[in-house]
């Protein structure tokens, strides 16, 4: 009895203190809101927002609701995070491998890159790219074309837009290619198990992924044309590019700094992962007759990935959360659109900040659940 009580009392007291603190907060919030004449509720989400956002992936203007504004912000956040994650991963893997290179110059160069970008605050880097580096770009009328189609100007990057005809068929052909590759891999594995023969799966896959979409162009009636941006004069000194896709400088500065910064951390994860695979593993694999490619693919990478993935997931989460720094350079992400403009207009501090935080919380929790699942799948099954 005494022992049981000893276990229950501390818990009860802690819970009581937590409840008291929360009760104190909610009580104050109620009184404060009554005093200021604000009512609590999420009804404002369906009201007309009446503010514009300069860059949005979905159709949006002032006549849409606050909820639509929230979606615009969320999509912009996701856009930046996804682009950032892709570039950071590519760069991080390259730099991480380069740090292990036997070439002295290359690994020193990689080490310099990591030490340099890791030790400067991300916000400072964003400001640097946005206010200093990208401001040095030419005006639209002075910009020189890169490969004749890209225009990098102070107002952003203009790229040609794709104009598809019968895009569905192209899309289906890619899906068909992926499905057939999966089937062939499965079949090849079976063949190898039964007959011991190795089919050239890699080459077959490459062939499939190129030929099927190509066939869709030749037979399926798919057509692709490009719309190249053209310079247009608005006033005597004001020029703009029309047509094509335009990426605002905020987006460029943000993705650039996010991926350069996060890549340093990913590089360290990759380096640790590859170093974590014992030398004996490679030697053992080579001694049973695997060629260097197979050693890398079948022995080193699976073990290295096991070490690399958990910290890299953390870095992806950090990148997603760091994308909220977009608010500092007025890229319309979730924080700027919703926790900034919408909050200013409605004054619903508690509702809006809580929605914003919950969104980030669920984003990061869903990424970490996904990665935990993957991690569990590839983890060593201990007996």
């Amino acid at each position: 009895m005494n022992l049981k009580l000893q276990k229950i009392i501390p818990q009860l007291i802690t819970v009581l203190v937590v409840i008291l603190v929360f009760g104190f907060f909610t009580y104050n919030a109620q009184i404060n809101m009554e005093n200021r004449g604000i009512d609590f509720g999420y009804g404002f989400l369906s009201q007309e927002s009446s503010f514009d956002v300069q860059f949005s992936l979905i159709e949006y203007d002032g006549s849409h609701s606050y909820f639509r504004a929230y979606l615009v912000g969320l999509l912009n956040t996701i856009l930046v995070s996804v682009i950032g994650i892709i570039f950071a991963t590519i760069l991080g893997v390259i730099v991480g491998v380069a740090r292990l290179s036997p070439n002295y110059l290359i690994n020193q160069f990689a080490a310099f890159y990591v030490e340099f970008f890791r030790n400067i605050p991300l916000l400072l880097q964003i400001f640097f790219w946005y206010f200093a580096a990208l401001r040095a770009l030419p005006l639209p009328q002075d910009a020189e074309a890169i490969f004749g189609v890209f225009f990098l100007t102070i107002k952003g990057l203009y790229v040609p837009a794709f104009i598809w005809q019968n895009f569905n068929i192209f899309f289906y052909s890619i899906i068909a290619a992926i499905i057939s590759i999966v089937i062939i891999r499965f079949y090849a594995q079976k063949v190898q198990e039964i007959q011991g023969k190795q089919l050239p799966v890699f080459w077959i896959s490459i062939g499939l992924i190129f030929t099927l979409p190509l066939l869709s162009f030749l037979i399926g009636g798919v057509d692709l044309s490009f719309e190249i941006p053209k310079l247009k004069q608005l006033a005597t000194t004001s020029f703009i590019y029309e047509g094509g896709l335009s990426l605002p400088p905020e987006l460029i500065a943000l993705t650039l700094s996010l991926s350069l910064y996060t890549a340093t951390f990913i590089a360290e994860c990759v380096r640790a992962g590859i170093q974590g695979v014992g030398k004996g593993q490679k030697e053992a694999a080579a001694s049973i007759g695997l060629n260097p490619n197979q050693v890398l693919k079948l022995v080193v990478m699976p073990q290295a990935l096991r070490i690399i993935i958990p910290p890299t997931t953390n870095q992806y989460l950090n990148l997603t959360k760091n994308s909220s720094l977009a608010a500092a350079i007025a890229y319309p992400d979730l924080v700027l659109v919703f926790a900034g403009t919408a909050l200013m207009q409605t004054g619903k501090a508690i509702e809006i900040v809580s929605i914003t935080m919950l969104t980030y919380l669920s984003l990061s929790i869903s990424i970490s659940i996904l990665m935990n699942w993957y991690n569990k799948k590839i983890a060593i099954k201990e007996k």
Binding site: T14, T26, N32, N103, N119, L124, F128, V335, V353
Partner: protein, 480 residues
């Protein structure tokens, strides 16, 4: 002398190949060098695409010729082993050498040669180089924010004094070494707080904060003498009670008078800024986030399920949201949760928010250390008859903390790098001051210099911290 096979360099024609190879390599380097430093193009008579590629091709052939294993020349072997192992590496090495040669004059001219240092107005900055005059003129603002010029000696004095007091650990004799932990955990932060409260602020800024600090320090000191069984209840109740008692029974005006030293003006926190604010915020957050994080790390491994759930919830919540939204919360949402007459300075709110945020990360790092300890340590401590607190303070935590020094250092680095975010609540540390100075109509167009300056400062701070943590790690590394 045998016939030379240029496609397969070997040892027999070592000298010939070596001379030819080095000659070609040197030519390529000299060409790039002249090109970038003196703007001389030796091979301009060639078509432009060829003259662009020629140094790489020549250098590549040169490196190919000198790639001879076991040549007998130590230097050559070293080069081959380090930068010239195969064709791919040779090209990469060449590219890096050329990039360095190409970039050096541009960087040098911007930083030093064409830069302007003299004068104190914008007029001296007309060259293509950096305008360090801008930094010189704005230096005080970047360091001290809007803190009045005449009062800045207070910040300097406090920082120097705190640095001296902080270095006490190096000079302590054996006799005092055992008190160092107590000194650094309780006394030093308290002295630091007093310095900032009396000296830098010199007025009623840190009110509620100061009550909190006094309550925490008193309760921690008394807490050492509380028997282990009651420690938990003690730490849950006494600090809050003390805080409330201090807040309502010590009179406001008396503390204002106490906070004012003779002849010192009160400087509002809104005027603080620049690098000194970065230091103040990092310092306090560092001090606060550590014990909070430790408490939640222990809570997460507690045997009581409810405490465990609360800790997990706390940690995962703070780790899941970006700091910028936390600061937003502290700015617009937090005042709603407090009684109307309860005013907390925005700097203090900021410090609390960042501390809680970083505490969650510290908690996870410490939990890693706790999990890495073998069960035997816990069992051994228990079998010696130690209670929960004694076991953790004397056996578990010293070992666990030793293990996680790199992780904790990384968290602190992240903290320092996160301080610029306080622009959200309107406080301007060095990056914020840069953005403010950049918009000054008299000094338009020097954004680059400002950011480079701040980047150098942050880089030095962070690099020094990471090297220091590496040293600590080596120092406390014990055989396991």
């Amino acid at each position: 002398m045998s016939k030379i096979n240029f496609l397969k360099p070997d040892k027999e024609n070592l000298n010939t190949l070596l001379y030819m190879g080095s000659f070609l390599f040197l030519i390529s380097v000299v060409d790039v060098f002249l090109n970038s430093f003196f703007n001389l193009n030796l091979i301009s008579f060639l078509p432009s695409s060829l003259s662009f590629m020629l140094p790489i091709i020549l250098g590549f052939i040169g490196l190919y010729f000198i790639r001879i294993e076991h040549s007998g020349y130590k230097f050559l072997d070293k080069i081959n082993k380090n930068i010239n192992t195969n064709n791919f590496n040779a090209i990469l090495s060449l590219l890096i050498i050329f990039i360095i040669i190409k970039a050096t004059p541009a960087i040098l001219s911007w930083f030093v040669v064409d830069a302007s240092f003299a004068g104190d107005s914008k007029d001296v900055c007309s060259g293509t180089g950096a305008c360090w005059t801008y930094i010189k003129v704005w230096f005080r603002r970047f360091m001290y924010g809007m803190y009045p010029n005449a009062e800045q000696w207070r910040i300097n004095l406090s920082f120097v004094a705190l640095a001296l007091l902080g270095s006490v650990g190096y000079f302590a004799t054996e006799k005092f070494k055992k008190y160092l932990t107590l000194y650094y955990v309780v006394i030093y932060p308290f002295i630091a707080f007093l310095f900032i409260f009396f000296f830098i602020s010199g007025g009623p800024v840190f009110f509620d904060f100061s009550y909190g600090i006094i309550a925490a320090v008193i309760s921690v000191i008394i807490g050492f003498f509380i028997p282990s069984r009651f420690k938990f209840y003690y730490f849950i109740f006494v600090p809050i009670t003390l805080y409330i008692a201090l807040k309502y029974f010590i009179f406001y005006e008396e503390l204002i008078e106490l906070g004012k030293l003779e002849g010192l003006n009160w400087v509002e926190t809104g005027a603080w800024g620049g690098l000194s604010l970065t230091f103040i915020i990092s310092f306090f957050c560092l001090i606060f986030c550590f014990p909070i994080g430790m408490a939640f790390a222990l809570g997460r491994r507690s045997e009581f399920p409810l405490i465990r759930y609360i800790s997990v919830g706390f940690i995962e919540f703070w780790r899941g949201v970006p700091l910028i939204t936390v600061l937003f919360m502290s700015a617009v949402m937090f005042p709603m949760f407090l009684p109307a007459d309860f005013f907390i300075d925005k700097l203090v709110r900021c410090i609390i928010a960042i501390s809680l945020f970083e505490a969650a990360y510290v908690a996870e790092v410490i939990r890693g250390g706790l999990q890495a300890l073998p069960r035997g340590q816990y069992e051994a401590a228990k079998s010696l008859g130690m209670g929960y607190w004694r076991m953790h303070i004397f056996v578990i935590l010293p070992q666990a903390l030793k293990l996680v020094i790199p992780g904790i250092a990384n968290t602190f680095l992240a903290l320092v790098k996160d301080t610029p975010l306080i622009f959200v609540v309107g406080l301007l540390e060095i990056v914020g001051m840069l953005n403010l100075a950049k918009t000054n109509p008299k000094w338009l167009g020097f954004a680059m210099e400002g950011y480079v300056f701040a980047a150098i400062i942050f880089w030095i701070i962070c690099y020094a911290m990471s090297k220091y943590s590496y040293n600590l790690e080596q120092k406390y590394k014990t055989e396991r």
